[in-house]
């Protein structure tokens, strides 16, 4: 059962071959066995999960049919879930019990899915290796020595190890796609504004976007059907007609124009990743697609632009953590300023502090024009590059990450090296576009390699179609790591 797709699980539930409670128990037992090794979950609460399963079983018994009714899903610990501890990977929120549901969580509840718990992540979603989590790093299920990627590393590892059939993630600069790539699963970052940000702990508000993570593109389409939708509680939520993201899955790809940006295949890309991407391109040609070379001349600037804009927004967003209304408060202080400074010194980890300092500096008097405003102008140039490329192609294809999963400690001491590992994903967030990562091979040492697909605004259904057709021809997304101790 653990290798079933979401559709197969939903069918088994509808046919009463298994109950929601039995299915949740199966995955809870697997989490109990594997979590000590992988550390993919921060919070597991068997009682809460089983009470949600019971509700789903009652709805199933009443004859209700909904595509994911009774299916278990894990949630990144960035989403507030009423009554659940919601830490965002930080000491600051280590004891924070959310008093309300994020809209994404509320939508999953309404759809009848069952929460398996809260997955580990880089602190406040700032990181590409999960090494910044206050709760310790997540291990990559394919190798104990390898990072799972970040920031949604717990979700990616949980799905890769089939501790959960699917999970939610968030992506500000690659935080869904890069861990999906490093752990060998599929993950989609939708167009900015498609999924509500309400109740999702804010990092960089003009870039943050929630999305699905699961073994296959078809699973992701079913999850996105639940997650997407207008929300009046999010001021940047888009008012659009509801879409069925599964509608184009079966469309043939004959005539599809795949854009290959020359900048994606330049210096810095590992030979193993390049080879796997070439093989995937050959597969697409067999399916009738054609390739065109495109150019994103300003892509190299996306990392510097991002490391101005994201920290600037973060320094503002994280000012709310002051020890007054919720979260950590220092125990010993002499006045208000002292309380703020000690609370924040104790509650935030090194990477979060670093980004708050960068953000504070670039927004400070005298530097705003040179950094923040200049970054916003280049952001427009980067978005314009994509708009130009999409005049010549239907989707853009390239690597998700320049290398397969790196080792723990390899980049932890060098922030710049860590930041550059997101070189292929960051531009997509700056432009607000949808992007996806799907598995397309393994390195010589057995670490997964991911293929990135980028679409024009609102082209999620197209991306899912292009990914699904590839997955009908290949089995990379079906591969599972093996654990001697597992059921």
């Amino acid at each position: 059962m653990i290798d079933h797709s979401l559709k197969q699980l939903a069918d088994a539930l509808a046919a009463k071959q298994i109950s929601g409670t039995e299915l949740a128990t199966l995955f809870l037992d697997r989490i109990e066995q594997l979590n000590p090794r992988l550390n993919a979950f921060i919070t597991v609460d068997r009682e809460k999960t089983l009470s949600e399963a019971k509700l789903a079983d009652a709805r199933l018994a009443a004859g209700e049919t909904a595509p994911l009714l009774g299916v278990p899903v894990a949630h990144k610990d960035i989403f507030c879930a009423d009554g659940w501890r919601t830490t965002c990977g930080s000491k600051m929120l280590a004891n924070f019990i959310a008093p309300y549901d994020a809209t994404v969580i509320a939508r999953f509840k309404a759809a009848g899915t069952v929460s398996l718990g809260k997955t580990n992540m880089d602190e406040f979603a700032m990181g590409s290796s999960n090494e910044t989590s206050f709760f310790g790093p997540v291990k990559n299920p394919w190798s104990d020595a390898a990072v799972p990627g970040g920031s949604s590393g717990g979700s990616a590892a949980a799905v890769a190890a089939r501790m959960a059939p699917a999970a939610t993630g968030t992506d500000t600069g690659g935080s869904i796609r890069q861990p999906a790539s490093l752990c060998g699963i599929s993950g989609l970052k939708p167009t900015y504004g498609v999924c509500s940000r309400y109740g999702m702990v804010a990092f960089a508000s003009s870039l943050d976007q929630a999305g699905p993570m699961a073994p296959s593109a078809e699973d992701c389409a079913l999850l996105l059907n639940v997650m997407a939708g207008f929300d009046e509680r999010d001021s940047t939520s888009l008012q659009r007609e509801a879409e069925d993201y599964t509608r184009d899955l079966d469309k043939p790809l004959a005539g599809l124009r795949i854009g290959l940006p020359r900048e994606f295949f330049a210096e810095g890309l590992s030979a193993e990743v390049a080879q796997a991407i070439e093989a995937a391109i050959a597969e697409y040609k067999k399916l009738g697609a054609q390739t065109v070379e495109v150019s994103l001349p300003n892509m190299g600037l996306s990392v510097p632009v991002y490391y101005v804009l994201a920290p600037a927004e973060a320094s503002s967003n994280l000012s709310r953590f002051d020890g007054v209304r919720y979260g950590h408060r220092a125990s010993d202080y002499k006045d208000l300023l002292d309380m703020y400074e000690k609370t924040r010194a104790e509650g935030f980890g090194a990477e979060v502090k670093r980004r708050i300092l960068i953000g504070t500096y670039v927004l400070s008097h005298g530097y705003y024009d040179a950094y923040y405003l200049q970054a916003q102008k280049i952001r427009r140039l980067i978005a314009a590059d994509f708009a130009g490329a999409f005049k010549e192609c239907d989707v853009i294809l390239g690597p998700t990450s320049p290398t397969p999963a790196f080792d723990f400690g390899e980049k932890a001491a060098d922030p710049v090296a860590m930041y550059l590992s997101d070189i292929y994903t960051i531009a997509v967030n700056l432009a607000g576009l949808p992007g996806m990562s799907i598995p397309c091979g393994f390195s010589g040492s057995g670490r997964p390699i991911g293929l990135q697909l980028i679409g024009d605004l609102f082209a999620e259904a197209k991306l899912l179609n292009v990914a699904h057709q590839y997955q009908l021809q290949t089995d990379w997304h079906m591969r599972m790591p093996r654990f001697p101790e597992s059921i």
Binding site: T191, P304, Y307, A345, Q374
Partner: protein, 95 residues
């Protein structure tokens, strides 16, 4: 441009994060590395380019001015570090 130790201490004060001199010294090295990367932006000619402050070209939605949320003060204050009579407690601000 290179940040000095004094710059770091000043920024940390603005950000309301207490740092020791040792921490500030480490941060100085790292931030200078990061700003080395960021400085690439300065070579780009952006004359006449409109700053892009948001991913999409849409304007802020307005809502009707009416009460839409119920009073959940008790639930929200239950997770606060210190409250009394419905008020959040902080050290004395005004003497």
């Amino acid at each position: 441009m290179a940040l000095t130790l004094q710059d770091i201490l000043h920024i940390a004060r603005l950000a309301r994060i207490r740092v020791t001199e040792t921490e500030a010294e480490i941060a100085r090295g790292q931030l200078n590395g990061i700003f080395g990367l960021i400085e690439q932006m300065q070579a780009v000619d952006t004359a006449g380019v409109e700053p892009m402050s948001h991913a999409l070209d849409v304007s802020q939605r307005l809502r009707e001015d009416r009460v839409s949320e119920p009073d959940r003060r008790e639930k929200f204050q239950a997770i606060a570090p210190a409250v009394e009579n419905g008020l959040y407690l902080v050290p004395r601000v005004i003497e």
